[in-house]
């Protein structure tokens, strides 16, 4: 096992990783930008190393500097958290070249999963349903029209280098398709350094359901069930839960088998997620592989009792997954509300600032992952996520009641947060019934205005 791990991240996820490392007797090194010198991860880690200016490109994305610090501090492995360098193939490669273990899948796997056209082909080859669309990259309007003739409008034009909700555009007609194709290629090249585009049929009223998979170096795969992530604003998740209100035992079995098959086909090692879109007929389509630990991983931990970061570390150190598929139990229900420093009454506009007062709720079945504390200043340079409130209950109804209770106790003064938004959603009839899809927020906001 590792003696020392460097954490190349910040905020709540850095804290989350430090906590598991401590419990495993592993020393931690945290790197931090000037904006984070007073942060909790810096206070809790065993060793701290400055990265320089706040700008991510000069700090948390500075591969050379982070590798250099890892070597100088005698760290054996690097945990990238999520975001920043978590899905960066060159970083995974740089770790390997410097005899450091990247806690995540290999550079080769990152390359396969990062190219959406490639991962779509891999899924198809593995016999997994993918959304009807083009087989490869689209290079002309004629080619695009040929694909659309087979599947019909509306269609999504997606960037192969995109994913996670970025680099997607909708077209309802030939005219729109022409317009989107003209602009999307340049935008994709600028944003992802990859101008390849592909076309998919637009799935109407889809639910976003993903499966948590673990794979070790011995070719063992287990799934830890699904997460329902349909409550999103502009493709960014706000509320997640496990299990999904839609998924029954037979659908779960089918989707889990498909998810493991696709991970096996790319030789995936470590923790990863397979995302599906599920339509109103409960037909599911492969969407993408997220080759990292995800923000919403705690809902899975709450229902399975399995520490995912611990498994990541064990797998990265060359160990076996600590349990078999038969030993995994999904017990009860868990919901996560993302606490963002945003003003929900002003289009979720960012709201950085100083926390003047804070009360963090507790009680049975409650978990709060946050790096906030009184007088902490939320810097404007990074993501607006400042905490995650996760509650567990024996069933969905009990979990919603517990979530309402904890949200009403959660008190943050100094900045606006998404807490009032979550309180309203917990009262929403469709949410309570579990009857929603990725368009929930549009409908919800229309209903309230």
């Amino acid at each position: 096992m590792f003696q020392k791990v460097l954490i190349a991240n910040r905020g709540e996820i850095a804290l989350r990783i430090i906590r598991t490392c401590k419990e495993m007797g592993i020393r931690t090194v945290i790197v931090y930008s000037d904006a984070d010198k007073n942060s909790l991860p810096v206070k809790y880690a065993d060793e701290t190393c400055p990265l320089g200016p706040p700008l991510a490109r000069k700090s948390y994305l500075n591969v050379e500097k982070i590798i250099d610090i890892a070597i100088k501090t005698n760290s054996q492995a690097i945990h990238p958290g999520y975001g920043f360098l978590a899905e960066n193939a060159s970083f995974a490669e740089a770790c390997k070249n410097n005899h450091l273990i990247f806690i995540g899948p290999s550079a080769e796997t990152h390359r396969l999963t990062g190219e959406k056209i490639t991962s779509r082909k891999m899924a198809k080859k593995a016999g997994i349903p993918v959304t009807p669309g083009s087989d490869g990259a689209i290079s002309s309007l004629e080619e695009a029209l040929c694909v659309v003739r087979g599947i019909g409008y509306p269609v999504m034009i997606k960037a192969s280098g995109g994913g996670g909700g970025r680099g997607m555009k909708l077209a309802n007609s030939e005219e729109e398709l022409d317009r989107v194709l003209r602009t999307a290629r340049g935008e994709a090249a600028a944003a992802f350094n990859n101008s390849e585009l592909y076309i998919e049929k637009y799935v109407k009223e889809p639910r976003h359901i993903e499966f948590q998979i673990l794979g070790d170096q011995f070719g063992h795969y287990v799934h830890l069930g699904e997460r329902e992530c349909s409550i999103q604003k502009r493709f960014q998740k706000l509320i997640e839960e496990s299990p999904s209100p839609l998924v029954d035992e037979s659908l779960r079995k089918k989707m889990a088998e498909a998810a493991i098959r696709v991970m096996d086909s790319v030789g995936y090692v470590n923790a990863g997620t397979v995302e599906f879109l599920v339509d109103t007929n409960k037909d599911f389509y492969f969407n993408e592989i997220n080759s990292r630990l995800q923000v919403e991983h705690p809902v899975t931990e709450m229902v399975t009792g399995i520490d995912l970061v611990r498994q990541q570390i064990i797998i990265a150190a060359g160990g076996k997954i600590e349990f078999s598929q038969e030993e995994v139990r999904q017990n009860g229900w868990a919901i996560e509300c993302r606490i963002n420093a945003e003003d929900p009454d002003n289009g979720f506009a960012p709201f950085p600032g100083i926390i003047t007062q804070i009360f963090i709720p507790g009680g049975f079945g409650v978990r709060v992952d946050t790096h906030l504390y009184p007088n902490y200043e939320i810097p404007p340079f990074y993501d607006s996520l400042v905490g995650k409130l996760i509650v567990w209950g024996k069933d969905r109804a009990e979990t919603i009641e517990r979530m309402k209770r904890t949200l009403s106790e959660f008190y943050i003064e100094g900045v606006k947060t998404t807490i009032p938004f979550h309180q309203k959603v917990m009262q929403d009839e469709d949410f309570i019934k579990g009857d929603f899809n990725t368009h929930f927020l549009e409908k919800f906001e229309k209903g309230r205005s």
């Binding site: 706040p54 700008l55 960012p350 950085p352 404007p380 607006s384």
Partner: protein
């Protein structure tokens, strides 16, 4: 009014960018004439990119912040001479 200097202040805290992306030219240089509605910089706050536009015609006299430096809410970013 002509010859009078006004400042463009940031309405957000974040990062100040003089160009739309790292490999593109800057929006404006000192000495440039700008017209109402013209974009002069971007301020990024929590991954949201906000274009800052100038409200009236003028000449950029001074750029007060370095590209990619942090900017505070209400901090002056440009001095512009009214023309």
């Amino acid at each position: 009014m002509n010859g009078k200097i006004f400042t463009i202040k940031s309405v957000l805290s974040g990062t100040f960018y003089r160009r739309p992306s790292p490999d593109e030219p800057v929006y404006v240089n000192e000495g440039d004439t700008v017209k109402p509605g013209q974009v002069v910089c971007i301020v990024e706050s929590m991954k949201i990119f906000n274009e800052v536009r100038v409200e009236r015609k003028g000449i950029i006299r001074k750029i007060l912040i370095e590209d990619e430096d942090s900017v505070l809410i209400h901090q002056p970013m440009f001095e512009v001479e009214v023309i």
